[in-house]
């Protein structure tokens, strides 16, 4: 089934909306149908911000998804709120640098990735969102690596000095995802 429903959640400012945008943009350039629906409620300031991205070969039906197949969480409040909603058999990626607890779901694949630590090593802790995106792409292969890298370069065109660290962060996440795939299957 070529429909992917991905919920990306974190604190406002952690960049999950941008990760979602890069993924949607990349899929669009490949001719796929996409939607990007952000949370825009009053919770955005100081609370959690999230975005739902749908990728499909057919026109996207509902861009609003209450039970996503894939979840990326950057912080504990998002984990507590969204982990119970993931569809059985789904995929959960947790930023273990910031989330001290485990995702209690036996029926899903759960990957823990130290996104902040890997991003710091790559050059900037602010690219932790791209480590998460890299892990998703590395594990699920829902889109090819090079298209996302192209999108990162495009997104940071005006701030070119940030490109190397962001691409490196994405690649290290991608490696984590590939490794997790090898381990779990």
């Amino acid at each position: 089934m070529a429909l992917h429903e991905i919920l990306m959640a974190g604190f406002g400012g952690q960049g999950m909306l941008l990760s979602g945008k890069l993924l949607a943009y990349a899929a669009m350039t490949q001719g796929r149908e996409v939607s990007w629906l952000p949370s825009y409620g009053p919770e955005m300031r100081g609370g959690t911000a999230n975005v739902t991205v749908c990728l499909s070969d057919k026109p996207v039906g509902s861009p609003y998804i209450s039970s996503p197949r894939i979840l990326l969480v950057m912080n504990q409040p998002s984990l507590e709120r969204f982990v119970p909603k993931v569809r059985s058999g789904g995929l959960i990626i947790v930023n273990s640098s910031l989330v001290p607890i485990k995702a209690d779901r036996d029926d899903c694949t759960v990957i823990y990735v130290a996104a902040n630590d890997l991003a710091r090593t790559a050059g900037t802790v602010r690219a932790a969102n791209l480590v998460m995106l890299g892990t998703l792409v590395g594990f699920s292969k829902i889109i090819d690596r090079e298209t996302i890298i192209k999108m990162i370069k495009k997104e940071f065109k005006a701030k070119a000095k940030f490109i190397p660290a962001n691409v490196a962060a994405f690649k290290s996440g991608y490696q984590e995802g590939t490794r997790a795939r090898g381990g779990s299957r």
Binding site: K21, L37, Y40, S62, I65, S67
Partner: protein, 391 residues
Amino acid sequence: MAKVLMKGNEAIGEAAIRAGCVHFFGYPITPQSEVPEYLSKRLPEVGGKYVQAESEVAASNMIYGSAGVGIRVLTTSSSPGISLMAEGLSYIAACSLPVVVVNIMRAGPGLGGILPAQGDYLQAVKGTGHGDFQLVVLAPASVQEAVNLVILAFELAEKYLTPVMVIGDGMIGQMMEPVEFPIEGVGPPLDPGDWALNGARGRDKRIINSLHLDPEYCNKINMDLKAKYDRIKKNEQRWELYNCEKPYDLLVCAFGMMSRICKTAIDELAQAGYRVGLFRPISVWPFPYATCKQAMQKAKRVLVLEMNMGQMVEDIQLAGQGTREIDFFGTAGGKVFSPDESKEKMLYSLKQAGAGKSRAGVSQPSSKSEGKPKKKKAAKTAGPAKKRKAR
């Protein structure tokens, strides 16, 4: 032309530019503030003018003035702001001037909340302001359709010299989807025709005014408007039927984003063997009554789902004229039905209709009841009633 990934609000702004709109007057309000933000940057680039009015009341009179002098104009707002524009829209309709208004609806009533809702349906299609006037109202269900309908809105406004409103909920405004603009560059300026106040040198003066103390003349104005609305009803009905080419047991009626959510639910039910079709009015005024009725006749039962407390359900009842049982479920306050919740409601209605999963030989909707209208039954409000109980 290549597709771009754009937020609904920004795409609406760009669509207006492509349609040749050069004036914007408005006041920021969530969830549509990106439209004025976008146009404040974009309009000066194409030689247009952007003014942030001191209020929505003022904005509605500024668009009245702009249209009056024959310059293509847009305003956008969200629910409470549209209420403030009601007076101006009545004047504009009375004077037969072309303006386009976009309402990115938020939760109400009152200040309500900033999250998506569809609670301004009746306001848009039945009672925007005082007097006998009518807006043409278009309801997009995607960012691409929002672009297409904003461009169409300008065409209709100028073809019929009447205000046109595009209504979307907060989701349409806030989400990003790929869009392709059907027009390259900037459209040609508005044809000022024989009505615009563009300088009387060399011709007789023109007056734009909605005060007519002579009852004969004021009656004539109303009759002329009625004749125009009748032409629009005849020519401008638009709708979408989804999953209706095969036989179906249940017809779901929904407009705007709610219809997208229903499509996902309908697809999932189809995989499980249930037969559900969807009727979506795109022009909610003029409402496609005849098509709606035809689609209803093919179903055993009808379900209306809306992000309000049952505003369109009245039009569905009018269309069906009592020939089908109609269930209604609504949600409001910024709470959106998920595809799963929509599926539950559809399963409820399928059960009421006695329709199970399809197998070979499943009977068609009985034709016996056709032509013999059943007693009209009020729409069920099981959804909201449950909520009331909980409070």
